[in-house]
Symmetry: C2
Subunit: 257 residues, 2 copies
């Protein structure tokens, strides 16, 4: 039975996609069967694995609006030990097209449910907004949400709104919605700001912050331009060691090791 | 007659807010009357000027839905030589409330029009999405859009979708929509990736890229936590010099110096 985690934060550029890809790659490295679901019309998770989003004809958009089943739309990469339901710019149209559909907020959950026995981990990457696509991602988060938080002030500021939204969804649509963990990213030890943010986030989410902190590392920004996760692009870098530690921390907490 | 520029890019975390605030502050430094309009429910521009978004009762949301006129909602900061129409989390509700309003996409343009003689520059900060709020921002961009592009691969990838959207809006809603300039941000000279991105962006937007490039500088990430623009927080930093040069480049091109 797959663990399904959704990466969410309406603040832009905090490391949602980077964490989905590289955590996913290390879970694959530890022989877990991993599926990434790209729910962002920017399709950054898709291109981070070297797939040209403009060639995607059967992806998240086609699955969500019911044009094609999910199974045959999934792309497998045996070398990277990771599978992905790719996205494309067409997904931007889903917001409008799903507007009048019955139970539109549960579409993604319904599409993914038949896959839970084929994978050990399903990671859902969301866009930087609290739109219909992100709500679909939240309602599909069977085992909780992962909240990447960049160690900078503006990212900290946005946490109140994020938790308000999560509470609202918990009350109205999905009582089991919970925070699986908060991941501190782009930590730059040279500045006091990062240390202050770390302390604030621990106060805000007591007992929910992963011990592993992801450092700022240019390798993570370079890897997507080669279409490779950090496991392949720079396996001995500080960034790789951090996502490796995060994967082990999650596997241990999930009782898989 | 104010120049009205809208900062837009659906890719998150590329420096839209940081550029609105710090370009605005330097335009103010050169005795221009400057208004920032915060159209993001995250209200990052509002908090970057030291305003608590949770105390904002008359801001962009109340103005857009017609609860209060724009004039009395603007906050002035004589020391920073900058004014702002602040945002608040309530603005997230405008998407739904404007859904059935006549000419909903032109609301912001209509609200701002009476102010053009009171200011020399009006800078509109948008959220990282292509939603009703961002469309309002685009239709209000009387003198064009400013597109901040982070010097990293994933930000580069998103430019195609952004220009597609701009073309669509130009064809259907606003024929005069144009790109005033593309601003390269978070440039890190230590990596070849940044130089590659710079070249690609010049190819993508020939003759539209500002000569000034904004370097990656931790001072820019620290300044918002003090509620100060870089002009006050770190006036001699490389970041301040860059936004100063940008302000002069824009003033010169606009025939103001
Ligand atoms: N730890 C890190 N160190 C340095 N750069 C990073 C790190 N994590 C992510 N990046 C880079 O920062 C940028 C933003 O990261 P990413 O795109 O993963 O964030 P996101 O939250 O998914 O953004 P969006 O809100 O647009 O979906 C990317 O260019 C990425 O390569
Ligand atoms: N040149 C720079 N060097 C270093 N840090 C920067 C720079 N410009 C912006 N930052 C920091 O990077 C983060 C993202 O910048 P900012 O919030 O301005 O981007 P944005 O495009 O407005 O984000 P969003 O898409 O969420 O609205 C912020 O923490 C900001 O302080
Ligand atoms: Mg992303
Ligand atoms: Mg912003």
């Amino acid at each position: 039975m797959a663990k399904i985690y959704t990466l969410v934060n309406q603040k832009g550029g905090v490391g949602k996609t980077t964490s989905a890809i590289n955590l996913g790659a290390f879970l694959g490295h530890y022989d877990q069967r991993v599926l990434i679901v790209d729910v962002d019309p920017q399709a950054n998770a898709t291109s981070s694995l070297g797939i040209d989003k403009l060639t995607v004809k059967k992806g998240t958009y086609e699955v969500l609006i019911g044009l094609t089943p999910i199974g045959p739309s999934i792309l497998h990469n045996p070398r990277l030990k990771i599978s992905i339901l790719p996205s494309s710019p067409a997904l931007a149209g889903a917001e409008v097209e799903l507007m009048d559909v019955q139970k539109r907020d549960f579409r993604l959950r319904e599409m993914i449910e038949p896959l839970v026995d084929r994978y050990d981990y399903i990671l859902i990457d969301c866009p930087p907004s609290l739109s219909i696509l992100t709500i679909n991602g939240l309602l599909a988060a069977k085992d909780g949400v992962l909240i990447p938080v960049q160690c900078e002030y503006l990212a900290l500021e946005g946490l109140g709104q994020l938790t308000d939204t999560l509470q609202r969804i918990k009350r109205s649509l999905y009582p089991d919605l919970n925070v699986r963990g908060v991941l501190l990213t782009m930590y730059d030890g040279r500045t006091k700001l990062a240390m202050d943010v770390v302390q604030e986030v621990h106060k805000f989410f007591p007992d929910r912050v992963f011990q592993t902190i992801i450092p700022r590392s240019i390798r993570l920004a370079e890897a997507p331009s080669y279409g490779l996760p950090i496991t392949v692009y720079a396996p001995t870098s500080s960034a790789a060691r951090a996502y490796d530690a995060l994967a082990r921390e999650i596997l241990h907490q999930d009782g898989k090791t």
